[in-house]
Amino acid sequence: MATAAVAPPVERENYLNKHYGVWSWLLTTDHKRISLLYLVSITFFFFIGGLFALLIRLELLTPAGDLVQADTYNKLFTQHGMVMVFFFLIPSIPAVLGNFLVPLMIGAKDLAFPRINLLSWYLYIIGGAMMLHCMLTGGVDTGWTFYVPFSTAFTNTKIVEAGLAIFVAGFSSILTGLNFIVTIHRMRAPGMTWSRLPLFIWAHYATSIIQILGTPVIAITIVLVAAERALHLGIFDPKLGGDPLLFQHLFWFYSHPAVYIMILPSMGIISEIIACFSRKRIFGYSFVALSSISIAVFGFLVWAHHMFVAGISVYAALIFSILSYAVAVPSAVKVFNWTATLYKGSIRYDAPMLYAFGFLGLFTVGGLTGLFLAALGLNVHVTDTYFVIAHFHYIMVGGAVMGYLGGMHFWWPKISGRMYPESWARLAALIVFIGFNLTFFPQFILGYVGMPRRYYQYPPEFQVLNVLSTAGATVLGVGYLLPMIYFLWSMRYGKPAPDNPWNAAGLEWKTPSPPTTFNFEQEPVVTWEAYNYEELDAPQHRQEAPVAR
């Protein structure tokens, strides 16, 4: 097979080689460079969070608490959660792939507010540095949820500092969401109507709504916790007339929708990948688009399903249970439309598609067990067990991270201008899928038979499943290290990527790989529908060669 684009003898100017030097990166306002700044920093935090996960799994290898002490274990799972949620999962896809792709996909030269975009990266870094400092000087032991009154009146760990770190990182998230919404409203190229937007854009639009409306609520909650802890106010302290449940309501008002901040962008990626590697227009475009919006809306109405055993009224619990079932509908709409897109498609099994398949299976398991948990009776039975842990890792790791990795592979040629090694990538996708299931499937069983979360020792009869889980975590770790290694390798030794290696639809593929600083030489004019693969593959439109390996 001929290579589609022979590498030109002189490297053409692009956003990577236009300027050199540290300041050209640290003071850049180019959304693509900021995206890479984020990529480096969130990868760093991903490995920090992963290190905590590894230590947790090592401790749980044996029933006795023998590797770390109970206090240390409490800090390990707390820091694992805080780092992974606030410093990896929430910024991951929007700040890296969204930052890179939103302007490219809608035909804009940059986000609407490039300087605010850079500011949000600095806020992320400041928050991250505070979190690192907090962890290195003692950490927090309350769990990532820092429930009151334990966090305000009892623990001696660094609640205020960790809270402020999350507060600052939260503003980074708000500014990213604000930037995306304005960009999607105001910066679309002529002809890029709402019904022609890629579903990746719809997903990011819905995500941004949650970011701007949810994040301020956790910000004010953190302010209140910090004030209460520092000044001994009584807002959440039952001894002083305060209400600890109010904290949980405010906390989950953000932190439940935050799950959709993690999963919605991933769903956007899956829509892109499945359409491209099935060579079909996505089935039910408008339903997939609007399901993103309705997930964002419904996502705000289900928070109290985290509080079924906390002492809310049965009536309130019933309402929240029903609403939680309702949020499954738009999620199922997506899954069914993706599978319908696969039907009679010309399917190719490149690495991004393998991740998309992995996402479909794992998200389905995660979503369906979410329905178990939305059921009041069963929820009481498995609350605070490993069943819950397994469920939300299927969504956040099996869903969000699989989508993130799929997207990184799909757009890596565009980002770096180089192809990644395909066979290694397929192997890594397989390892991630196997490692993931081995890690978390046993936890469903563990939870169902009664192993509680957040304990560092357990009865010996749980050991076999725990050993399986720890073994799986090791495999998963290898699966995550591999892409990191071959992506770095490909930056130097990978084959130069053609402009459109997948023969994909979408404006981002009409730019050079890697794109120039201002993305488009001329403002593009869009005259076609999204995912017009049937049209693209029709003989008169066939380009010289669709693939380069």
């Binding site: 604000l178 304005v182 105001r186 209140l224 209460e228 106010l233 002083l240 201002f518 030489e521």
Partner: protein, 236 residues
């Protein structure tokens, strides 16, 4: 479908207005983006204060009498004056924007100075109120004291100091965050004043004034809600 293009030179053709940033196609697009950006930011602010209002409403319902007693101890005359001051400042903001639209540079500068003056008066009165509360030991903390304070409308009944302390905690957090927003607003208006002095704003281009004005109005509106909720519980 159009061919893939190899970009050589980024286009810079449309840039004859220095205020138009490179990635916008037109002045109108840039202005619309800035306006929408500020409106969305204000939506986040609504949610930010919303959490506090939610906490306030719950405790006010639970501890109505104690809240009414605590509310009566703050000076409604000072709070009312501050409300009037802020409403005047919103008027001067609107006049400033009108002055920019009609190319009256001196009036623009005067109105901006007046706005900032009103803002400073507000903060000064606020500081006086805080000092009074401090002197009366009504600041939550170790030296807090709210003994034998009658509940309005219930002769012979006294407020529970523990619950009154929650009122004062919310009072200081809510008015404190509002004051912080005022200070940020003064910072923004200092910059607007400087830019107006330099003659940056024209009838065609005065987006920063409009966006800064939106922010100022929002902070005013927060106070319009805070004043009756905090100062006027059960006052007749």
């Amino acid at each position: 479908m159009p061919d893939n293009s190899v970009a050589v030179v980024p286009s810079t053709a449309h840039h004859d207005n220095p205020a138009l940033l490179h990635h916008f196609a037109s002045e109108q697009q840039q202005k619309d983006s800035a306006d929408l950006g500020m409106w969305i930011f204000l939506a986040t602010e609504v949610m930010f204060f919303g959490g506090l209002f939610c906490a306030y409403l719950i405790y006010r319902r639970w501890y109505y009498g104690d809240f009414a007693a605590a509310s009566s101890s703050i000076d409604a005359a000072l709070g009312g004056t501050n409300t009037a001051v802020l409403i005047c400042s919103s008027l001067t903001v609107v006049l400033a924007i009108w002055a920019a639209q009609t190319a009256r540079r001196t009036l623009l500068i005067v109105m901006l100075i007046l706005t900032m003056l009103f803002g400073c008066v507000f903060l000064g009165i606020k500081a006086k109120e805080y000092k009074d509360k401090f002197d009366e030991h009504h600041v939550p903390g170790a030296s807090f004291s709210f003994e034998h304070q009658p509940i309005p409308g219930h002769p012979g009944e006294y407020a529970n100091p523990v619950h009154a302390e929650i009122f004062f905690a919310l009072y200081f957090v809510m008015t404190g965050l509002h004051a912080l927003h005022m200070i940020i607003g003064l910072g923004i208006f200092t910059w607007l004043l400087w830019a107006s002095w330099k003659g940056r704003f024209t009838p065609e281009y005065h987006t920063p004034l409009e966006v800064g004005g939106l922010y100022w109005h929002f902070v005013d509106i927060v106070w319009i809600y805070l004043f009756p909720l905090l100062y006027l519980i059960d006052r007749h």
